[in-house]
């Protein structure tokens, strides 16, 4: 019976379906007529996703009960020995399969035609707070299915097809618009900005439940109401719809309030000091105050956060890419106190002094006293085939936004622009008067060099060739003009590790093979590093080492041979007392406390829900742990209280 009704629907709606199919094929073929017009091609794809599919769904849906309504065949159909839910399902099933056939054509075109595949992604202005990337355009499919259901449900009401189309269009756009307005407004707790993942999930749940509300209302109206009385039928439909919508709203709000979101995207640590840590997620920068356990949302994500951040003296400087349109991107420099106060845009579109429209920011560093922010920018001098030649500029600006200065780095480019240039800040020296810059030129042979830029004299001098900082963060100890450097020849890995005195220029070699990053203890007297040595039978082993500046030698060592233990080296940090250390034992799924001699001094088991620890920070008496999800870019943040021995999931 289902099949009989299903194929009857196909026969009835075949004309509409093939008309829509023809339009779709024409739209997909049209870009071939505009081979040289990328903008036209792009808008044709958008036209398919944003206009064609929603309207195709509306037209198909509005035709659902059009035949019975227009030709008065209600009595005939309902007097057949077939249940009304079967009639509903067969009709909707037929329409759904027609719509699926249209999407299948689009899917094949997307798979075959690169121009369609590249463009058939989410336009940024649809979900500005949520970067869905280059994925199948589920948004268009979802919206279209929603409209299909709304129009199909309304087609029961025996109105003229055009009226049903218009009402379905209004309702079909109104509900998503209301949901959207809720998640971006204060009424919805600014969810779109505070918790994009939650906002996106709420939108999805809301739309699915509203779709089900329309489905339920139409199904129950068809099943129970008297179709010889259109007014009564309308009242029945509205009654059921209102009830289901109320239920949908309750469940949606409930899910937003009470069901946790499985992790944030792009979760990572920015830095830490004393009692607080700064981390970023897709929605911006946050600070965690270990004393109060309070999380502060420092910055709203403004279109796209760049990767450059720097912390000093309870002050955070960061860069923002502000997207006005695809071709209008402004790079801004912001500063904020770590308690969330004093947030200010130092350099941007609306601040005095036009800012580097064509340059790209490469590095950012705030001075140890938190008063000066230095920015390295690179600009492309010329292109030739696939090669680019670049030069760099140093900028400084006061933390209050005044005194933006452009400083020449010509001395670093004696031969003019260089190919495949890389520049970054390595350290502050001499109480913030000198900036140490590392330069890498990728042109063979690859060369690394360390430079010192004197902010007062405005001069740049080379400190060392073949040297680069071992650790990029934190830059260097606040109280000592010393920098741990790795001498490297080209990109040879690893190199020798040495301590460079930035004041005197003297250098002390501390390890034969310095590997991975180093960590200064809280008192900045000891250095934690990992050394790699050849053992018996030329087997290479990793040696976790504590180097004392006062003693001028390693004062504790622990050798690891198991490859998994290498994580001890990378995922190890100092405890607040500056004596013991904390390490992540990924193999043993635990936190290990190591004593002053690097001996095992304690163990803290990780919760089962932390599947894959990917980073941690010790802040005061709390440990913050990042855990990766099986899905890329998603993570969760956990807190362990070293005093109370308790875990808490922050995200």
């Amino acid at each position: 019976m289902f099949a009989a009704l299903y194929f009857k629907e196909w026969r009835e709606k075949a004309l509409v379906f093939f008309f829509e199919l023809g339009v779709l094929v024409a739209l997909l073929a049209a870009p071939f007529l505009f081979r040289d017009r990328a903008d036209v091609q792009e808008w044709l794809v958008y036209a398919i996703l944003m206009i064609f599919f929603p309207f195709a769904a509306l037209v198909l849906g509005a035709a659902g009960f059009e035949t019975e309504s227009g030709q008065g065949a209600w009595a005939y159909l309902f007097s057949r020995p077939v249940s009304r839910p079967t009639i509903w399902l067969s009709k909707f099933g037929a329409l759904l399969s027609m719509f699926a056939a249209l999407w299948l054509v689009f899917y094949v075109a997307r798979a075959v035609l690169p121009s369609v595949a590249e463009l058939a992604e989410l336009p940024g202005f649809v979900f500005p707070m949520y970067d869905l990337g280059t994925v199948f355009p589920w948004w268009s499919l979802g919206l279209s299915l929603f409209l299909l259901m709304v129009a199909f449900s309304l087609s029961l009401l025996r109105g003229r097809q055009f009226n049903i189309l218009v009402v379905a269009l209004i309702l079909g756009l109104l509900f998503p618009a209301v949901l959207w307005a809720l998640v971006v407004s204060r009424t919805g707790g600014l969810m779109a900005w505070l918790a994009p993942a939650r906002a996106f999930r709420t939108l999805l749940i809301g739309l699915i439940l509203i779709t089900l509300a329309f489905a339920g209302a139409s199904l129950l109206t068809l099943k129970r109401s008297d179709f010889s009385q259109p007014g009564k039928q309308l009242r029945t439909f509205v009654g059921w719809l209102a009830a289901f919508l109320a239920l949908a709203a309750t469940v949606t709000v409930g899910s937003a309030l009470f069901i946790p979101v499985p992790g944030e995207r792009h979760l990572d640590f920015i830095g830490s000091a004393d009692n607080w840590a700064v981390y970023c997620t897709e929605r911006g920068l946050f600070s965690y105050d270990a004393a109060s356990g309070r999380v502060r949302w420092l910055t709203k994500r403004q279109n796209a956060l760049s990767w450059f951040n720097s912390i000093a003296k309870d002050r955070l400087a960061y860069t923002v890419k502000k997207l006005e349109s695809r071709n209008d991107v402004t790079q801004e420099i912001w500063v904020t106190n770590t308690d969330g106060t004093g947030q200010k845009c130092l350099v941007g579109r609306d601040t005095p002094g036009a800012w580097l429209p064509d340059d790209s920011i490469r590095s950012l560093a705030i001075s140890p006293d938190g008063r000066t922010i230095a920015i390295l920018t690179e600009s492309v001098s010329r292109h030739e085939k696939l090669k680019t030649w670049r030069t760099a500029t140093l900028w400084t600006v006061n933390a209050d936004g005044s005194g933006l200065e452009k400083r020449s780095l010509e001395a670093m480019f004696p031969d003019g622009p260089e190919e495949n240039l890389y520049l970054a800040f390595a350290a502050w020296a001499r109480e913030g008067k000198v900036l140490i810059i590392v330069k890498r030129c990728s042109r063979e042979p690859v060369r690394w060099s360390l430079w010192a830029y004197d902010l007062e004299r405005r001069t740049a001098i080379k400190l060392r060739d073949d040297a680069a900082p071992v650790s990029w963060w934190p830059l260097n100890p606040k109280s000592r003009d010393v920098l741990a450097v790795r001498h490297r020849h080209g990109d040879e890995w690893p190199g020798t590790l040495a301590l460079l005195n930035l004041a005197s220029g003297e250098e002390t070699e501390i390890a034969g093979v310095g590997n991975l990053r180093v960590r200064w203890d809280p008192n900045e007297e000891k250095l934690l590093l990992i050394d790699r040595r050849k053992g018996p039978e030329a087997r290479e082993s990793s040696v976790l080492t504590v180097y004392s500046l006062a003693a001028g030698k390693a004062i504790a060592e622990r050798t690891f041979t198991d490859l998994d233990d290498i994580y001890y080296g990378y995922w190890t940090t100092w405890m607040p007392d500056g004596q013991s250390l904390l390490a992540i034992d990924r193999k043993g799924r635990s936190l290990r406390i190591l004593g002053p001699e690097l001996e095992d001094a304690g163990r803290i088991d990780l919760p089962a829900r932390i599947q894959k620890p990917s980073g941690f920070e010790v802040v005061g008496d709390k440990v913050l742990i990042l855990a990766s999800s099986k899905k890329s870019f998603r993570g969760s943040l956990w807190r362990f209280d070293l005093v109370k021995k308790s875990w808490k999931r922050l995200y």
């Binding site: 019976m1 009595a75 309902f78 020995p81 010889s228 009385q229």
Partner: protein
């Protein structure tokens, strides 16, 4: 004869107008029932309620001892229905309509419908929308008969037929059905149509069944034509 259908305290209103009021009826199998009533007295409403097209406001209907609820559909396999208004799918051909219906009825008689279509002069290739009202009614009847129903509801089917067809229909089809044991409920306002075929008379007036009696007894008691009897009874009610 066994009871095929029972209706108890059936009621139905459209807005403030109550069309059926506490209607009760027992239908025995194998008999031809004539349901008389003026226009708007509820004959079509009763037929539609029995076919599950519209819901009743109250009352109980049982078929072969089983209660029929609104929304149930299995019992309709044993029901035939020729509606007053023959609205089918306009773009469907007669063959398409026949094939469409064949899926619903387990006792579908292909030979019979082929014969009936030929008998009624209907071309299977014709589209339903091109048929006259009389042809549509004939097609409806052919489809209903092909389902080999135990209970056939004819809702004023002859009003659109020409005289020869109507006579043919009344004389041959109904008698043939009665002879085969099919129970027929023939609802009409054309009183004289029923006189030659009806076994039990039902008169619907003011939403109530004012007569539910064997036609022979009614006729013997009143010694008049059915038309006169109907006028007299409705006037008295």
């Amino acid at each position: 004869m066994s009871e095929l259908l029972r209706i108890e305290h059936l009621s139905k209103s459209f807005g403030r107008k109550q069309v059926l009021k506490d209607l009760s009826l027992s239908v025995e199998s194998g008999r031809v029932y004539g349901l008389l009533g003026r226009n708007g007295e509820g004959k079509t409403t009763l037929a539609r309620i029995l076919m599950g097209v519209i819901p009743a406001d109250g009352g109980v209907i049982t078929f072969k001892g089983r209660r029929i609820g609104f929304g149930q559909s299995a019992y309709k396999r044993e029901f035939g229905y020729v509606p007053e208004d023959p609205f089918f799918y306009e773009d469907m051909t007669i063959r398409g309509l026949v094939n469409f219906n064949a899926r619903f009825y387990p006792r579908w008689d292909r030979k019979r419908i082929a014969a009936d279509l030929e008998r009624f002069g209907l071309d299977p290739k014709s589209r339903f929308g091109t048929l006259s009202r009389g042809q549509k009614l004939k097609l409806g009847l052919a489809v209903a008969l092909a389902a080999a129903p135990e209970f056939l509801i004819l809702d004023d089917p002859t009003s659109g037929l020409d005289v020869p067809t109507r006579q043919d229909f009344l004389r041959d089809v109904i008698r043939e059905l009665a002879a085969s044991g099919t129970t027929v409920l023939f609802a009409t306002h054309l009183v004289h149509e029923l006189e030659r075929i009806v076994e039990r008379l039902l008169v619907l007036h003011g939403g109530r069944l004012i007569v539910d009696e064997d036609f022979d007894k009614v006729k013997a008691r009143h010694q008049a034509s059915l038309e006169d009897i109907f006028v007299r009874l409705t006037a008295e009610a």
